[in-house]
């Protein structure tokens, strides 16, 4: 039987997915770093649909586009991503019955490509020299060529990205810490996590300090992070929300992957380790405080990194 997906059905399906997005636990880091009066809590963002923090913006982008009528049966969702957002789109798209097309750099890992193909995503490869900046340009070109065929999700410039964190991530942190959070620190990629979460947290308590993190150069090993000085700056980025911005070296992050595995029992991704490196640097400067960071995903998709470490 050929399934005819009508708009009301699509709306119903997306609403039913809501409970599988967000509500991730705050994990106390207790053995890798200890200091009296200072707590570090990491939000385990892989514990949701698609296995990463990207469930949040991908879901909200789908939901908003279906609600506004921009995405309807017969249209395909199109975007640029090298990793977790693409997987989140493909996961949600499969469940909703919406085809997903991803523009990604050809040097994306073989694991990513296999996961995306398994979930039914159509892949369009872009130059290995251009990263996701070139992939964005290709997605834009395709969407302009045939606007009726595609809904161009444009995660770097779509307000639904940061809004997902504003509406949910921040409030989960606020409630999960019994309103005791004093510092929020996380890395910049699309900047959605930092912008949305920080904006809402500062509304809840303007004394909360927010610190953004970036790689220390354009060529680095923190998948998902952007060195904004040399990259296309996302339209949703709001630098004024940050009280400070720090740079993290890949080697410091990778060293923490091994340590966290041995002492905390978590196998975390390079970007999660980089966030923790920033949180520990911050914790060393405080006499007391509750620091919250995010662990965007675990190490499952980073076999090539793990091979160099273990």
């Amino acid at each position: 039987m050929i399934e005819t997906l009508i708009e009301s059905k699509l709306q119903e399906r997306v609403n039913k997915l809501r409970p599988f997005v967000g509500n991730t636990p705050l994990f106390p880091i207790q053995r890798v770093f200890q200091k009296k009066g200072v707590k570090i809590l990491a939000k385990l963002e892989w514990q949701q649909l698609g296995g990463s923090v990207k469930a949040r913006p991908a879901y909200e982008i789908f939901r908003a586009a279906i609600s506004s009528g921009e995405l309807y049966p017969g249209k395909k969702l199109l975007d640029a991503s090298s990793g977790n957002t693409a997987i989140a789109y493909a996961t949600i798209g499969a469940k909703l019955g919406v085809p997903v097309i991803i523009c990604l750099p050809e040097n994306a890992s073989a694991e990513r490509k296999l996961i995306l193909k398994s979930l039914g995503a159509e892949l369009i490869y872009t130059s290995k020299f251009g990263g996701t900046d070139d992939a964005q340009e290709e997605a834009l070109r395709l969407s302009e060529e045939d606007p009726l065929a595609y809904f161009y999700a444009d995660q770097y410039n779509n307000d639904a990205n940061w809004r997902a964190h504003y509406q949910f991530t921040a409030n989960e942190i606020w409630n999960g810490t019994d309103k005791s959070i004093t510092h929020f620190i996380t890395g910049l990629g699309t900047t959605g996590t930092f912008t949305g979460t920080s904006t809402r947290l500062k509304e809840l308590n303007h004394d909360i300090t927010t610190i953004s993190l970036q790689p220390d150069g354009p060529l680095h090993g923190m998948e998902g992070w952007k060195h904004l000085e040399t990259a296309k700056v996302p339209g949703i980025y709001q630098p004024d929300i940050a009280d400070d911005n720090w740079f993290i070296e890949t080697t410091d992050a990778y060293a923490l992957i091994s340590e966290v595995a041995a002492k905390e029992g978590l196998l975390i991704s390079p970007s999660a380790a980089a966030n923790l490196a920033g949180a520990i640097r911050l914790a060393k400067t405080l006499d007391e405080g509750v620091i919250v960071t995010t662990f965007p995903d675990n190490a499952e998709k980073y076999g090539e990194v793990l091979k160099t470490l273990f």
Partner: protein, 92 residues
């Protein structure tokens, strides 16, 4: 003499040039020739001891130099060297 293809994020440091003709008989000499002309590139590509950073991949034609003779890989006047980010980059 080899031509080095510069990835987009590094073009800010090469006056926006996507290809640069360099001097030298090995990959290492070619890269050092590049960083001598564009010194701002050095900290992004090389360690303090002059070796190539861990998160930078260098290709000679279609081969990763790690499966050739690494930095000592010989180049010809018509060789093409590519600097490629170790990860595809992306979004958090």
């Amino acid at each position: 003499m080899a031509t080095i293809i510069i990835p987009t994020p590094l073009r800010k440091f090469t006056e926006n040039q996507s290809k640069v003709v360099t001097k030298g008989d090995t990959v290492q000499e070619s890269i050092h020739s590049l960083t001598n002309v564009f010194p701002e590139l050095k900290k992004h590509v090389l360690n303090d001891d002059g070796s190539i950073k861990q998160f930078v991949r260098i290709y000679l034609e279609d081969e990763d130099i790690n499966v050739l003779d690494k930095e000592e890989t010989k180049v010809e006047s018509n060789s093409t060297i590519s600097i490629i980010p170790a990860i595809a980059g992306g979004a958090i």
